[in-house]
């Protein structure tokens, strides 16, 4: 069973990626790659499980705008510290497209990114298997202060008036 960080807790993952074997459990929650979702949207619309879509760094967030009635999870891929497009994709999803479902960072991510990701609106982190999740969890709070307003309702410059 895969464990991940979700809403600041370590939980067992209820979701399965489409390219993974089913490994026990009902798995009525499936994450499709963006290309497949685009292709097979109509087919999946009436399926009775929960659906998620996985975006690569170049997949356009705007293409999902009409799909959020059906899609309750968006996974965004990271390929290491050199990949930063996912931060903007997350901001757009949360702010411009008002996505309120689970926003999950997947791929090669490390704990040092979690503070930034959380402030961009990610609330779930599917980290490489070797990660010590208990330690990683702490990194969400590497900083208790910030200068920018962000979807996680952090501080802004305005707080300085206090």
């Amino acid at each position: 069973m895969r464990r991940l960080i979700k809403q600041r807790e370590i939980v067992v993952d209820e979701w399965r990626h489409a390219d993974e074997d089913a490994h026990g459990g009902p798995h009525r929650a499936l994450i499709l790659p963006f290309a497949r979702w685009k292709e097979e949207k109509d087919r999946w619309w009436l399926w009775d499980g929960r659906l998620g879509v996985r975006l690569g760094p170049t997949d356009p967030v705007a293409a999902l705008e009409q799909d959020f009635l059906r899609v309750s999870l968006v996974a965004i891929e990271f390929g290491g510290l050199a990949e930063g497009r996912g931060y903007s994709q997350a901001q757009l999803l949360r702010k411009r497209y008002k996505f309120t479902g689970e926003l999950r960072a997947v791929g090669k991510i490390q704990r040092d990114q979690l503070f930034f990701m959380a402030r961009c609106g990610f609330d779930a982190f599917e980290m490489p298997e070797t990660t010590k999740l208990e330690e990683a969890l702490l990194s969400i709070d590497d900083f208790s202060v910030a200068y920018q307003g962000a979807p996680d309702a952090g501080l802004s410059l305005e707080r300085r008036a206090v």
Binding site: L81, M117, Y147, G149, S156, L157, E158, R160, A161
Partner: protein, 552 residues
């Protein structure tokens, strides 16, 4: 001078704790080399030829005397008794130990300093005109805006993992002493037809392998729109900038690929689409920042005659190393870090301590670092100038060469840097030895010589009136010379390569031939750069590569 409040202070302290833990994980083998590299770089720590190099942020070049004293202490306790001022108005230490860096950062935090975002693919130190706030030609002091941008850019959740480094400069003067046109974003405080002050926005300037002058993408941006507009530019860049090739990842490559006009449209579209969610102008927060930059308590003094009866040496220094101040009775004083025996930009711990004392005594306890690697006391009473000059002279900080040939910008080069192809400090020495006659330098007048040890262009060679670039030819050091570059004002231009590169031993001789063309051809009162623009590169090229000289 901006003072931290508890939020600023907590942030730098938490950064020290975070970095301390990252270093611990690396040393314990929990973090791999590659993963740690990106983390240490965004904290200014490079692994150089001999040792790590730590770059410390000096926001827009402004320092208090206590911060200068802390630099001295760190140089003494953690380095080999000196530091090096850079072209981003920052300070570098060349010999710290990796495992001691967290302790250095803790000391810095105790004087409201840090090394956050001094390297790595993120928004770097925001630079400004080094005469900000005192220049008579300024429309508005850019420093409050620099601090405002600094705070917005610090640990920005969305823009901390950009395709490549990102540099912003702000200036309030048409003179543009901040080289803003060769920055990823240049912001000019300008007045519109209605007399309101706002920003002219330039994007896509830069040096390195593909030198470019920035393009104006907005002639006038109301001030309160600044952060929203910056966010639009950065988001377009973060999503569209190339990540497949490190040499094509800067925003200038994107601007060039789509064209400045199309890029402008992309930014405007993103800006409009984002209006509802963009960061709003924080007027109270800005006012709080701006209050720290109100003028110091100047005395009411008149301008005085400081030159009568004084030695020529002092008069030379006054002419070259001091500048007009907008307040009567005051001058701005340059401390030259370009004496003939000094690697450009270097300063020892003992000198830093003395500079701090002198700043307390003569200039409200503040020091400025310039992008051409000198220091400034911005607010010196004219009647104190002679006394100050004597003190600076004793410290080897009064070489009267500001703006002359030997006031050159110079990167650390192959002596320290693992990226460099060739040395630059020995070339600086060679030039200093050849051109050691002050009368000759004064006759040459204003001339900017800039030198980099490799095409990454830390020494800004592309925008030197004379640029020198170190290249490696089969393991030997050669130097490519460019002419006609300029970083300032309306005249910003990229220099033209004069011809084949010259051997290490021939650099000063080549510069001499170039100068001889100028001396022979100049018109009354014409600067080197203007003569070059009038004549073009041909006569210079002909003289440098003349057969009679090659035989010599």
């Amino acid at each position: 001078m901006y003072q931290y409040d508890q939020i600023d202070q907590r942030l730098v302290e938490q950064r020290v704790a975070q970095y301390r833990d990252q270093t611990r994980r690396y040393l314990a083998g929990e973090l791999g080399e590659d993963d740690f590299r990106s983390l240490r770089l965004r904290n200014g720590l490079y692994i150089q030829k001999h040792a790590p190099m730590l770059r410390i942020s000096i926001p827009y070049g402004l320092l208090t005397s206590s911060q200068v004293r802390m630099f001295a202490r760190i140089a003494r306790e953690f380095d080999k008794n000196y530091g090096h001022f850079t072209t981003r108005q920052n300070l570098q230490f060349n010999w710290p130990k990796l495992e001691q860096v967290p302790d250095i950062l803790a000391l810095l935090a105790s004087v409201q300093m840090h090394a956050i975002q001094t390297s790595g693919n993120c928004i770097r130190n925001v630079t400004a005109d080094h005469l900000a706030g005192i220049a008579p030609d300024e429309s508005e002091d850019p420093r409050p805006w620099c601090e405002y941008i600094r705070q917005w850019a610090t640990l920005h959740p969305e823009f901390s993992y950009l395709p490549r480094k990102f540099k912003i400069a702000v200036t309030g003067s048409p003179q543009d002493r901040a080289a803003s046109k060769v920055h990823d974003i240049g912001l000019h405080l300008v007045k519109n037809a209605d007399g309101e002050i706002g920003f002219e926005v330039l994007v896509g300037g830069g040096l390195g392998r593909m030198p470019m002058i920035g393009h104006v993408i907005r002639e006038f941006l109301p001030k309160h729109e600044l952060l929203g507009y910056l966010e639009a530019i950065l988001r377009v860049y973060n999503l569209e900038g190339r990540r497949d090739n490190i040499h094509k990842a800067r925003i200038k490559v994107l601007v060039k690929a789509v064209g400045p006009e199309k890029f402008r449209e992309m930014v405007e579209a993103e800006w409009q689409a984002n209006r509802e969610y963009a960061p709003t102008h924080d007027a109270a927060g800005f006012a709080r920042i701006a209050a720290f930059f109100t003028p110091p308590a100047y005395e009411s003094l008149g301008d005085v005659d400081v030159l009568s009866g004084k030695p020529t040496e002092f008069r030379n220094w006054y002419q070259r190393n001091t500048r007009r101040h907008k307040v009567a009775g005051y001058r701005a004083v340059f401390l030259s870090l370009k004496s003939p025996t000094r690697p450009p930009g270097d300063i020892t711990d003992a000198e830093m301590d003395r500079v701090a004392d002198l700043a307390d005594r003569y200039s409200f306890g503040l020091v400025r670092a310039t992008h051409d690697q000198n220091l400034i006391f911005a607010d010196v009473r004219q009647r104190d100038l002679f006394e100050l000059w004597q003190s600076l002279k004793a410290l080897d900080l009064a070489t009267p060469n500001i703006g002359t040939l030997t006031d050159m910008i110079c990167c650390p080069g192959l002596d320290f840097c693992s990226l460099a192809n060739a040395t630059s400090i020995p070339i600086a020495k060679q030039i200093n030895e050849r051109f050691d006659n002050l009368d000759y330098l004064y006759d040459l007048g204003d001339i900017e010589l800039k030198m980099s040890g490799c095409m990454n262009a830390c020494g800004h060679h592309h925008v030197g009136h004379i640029g020198i670039l170190g290249v490696d030819k089969g393991g030997e050091e050669w130097y490519q010379i460019t002419l006609g570059g300029s970083a300032s004002g309306q005249d910003a231009a990229i220099g033209q390569v004069i011809g084949p590169s010259v051997a290490h031993a021939d650099v000063a001789e080549t510069i001499d031939r170039i100068l001889n063309v100028y001396l022979a051809e100049r018109e009354e009162g014409e600067r080197f750069i203007d003569t070059f623009r009038r004549l073009g590169i041909k006569p210079f090229k002909a003289r440098v590569y003349a057969p009679s000289h090659q035989a010599a």
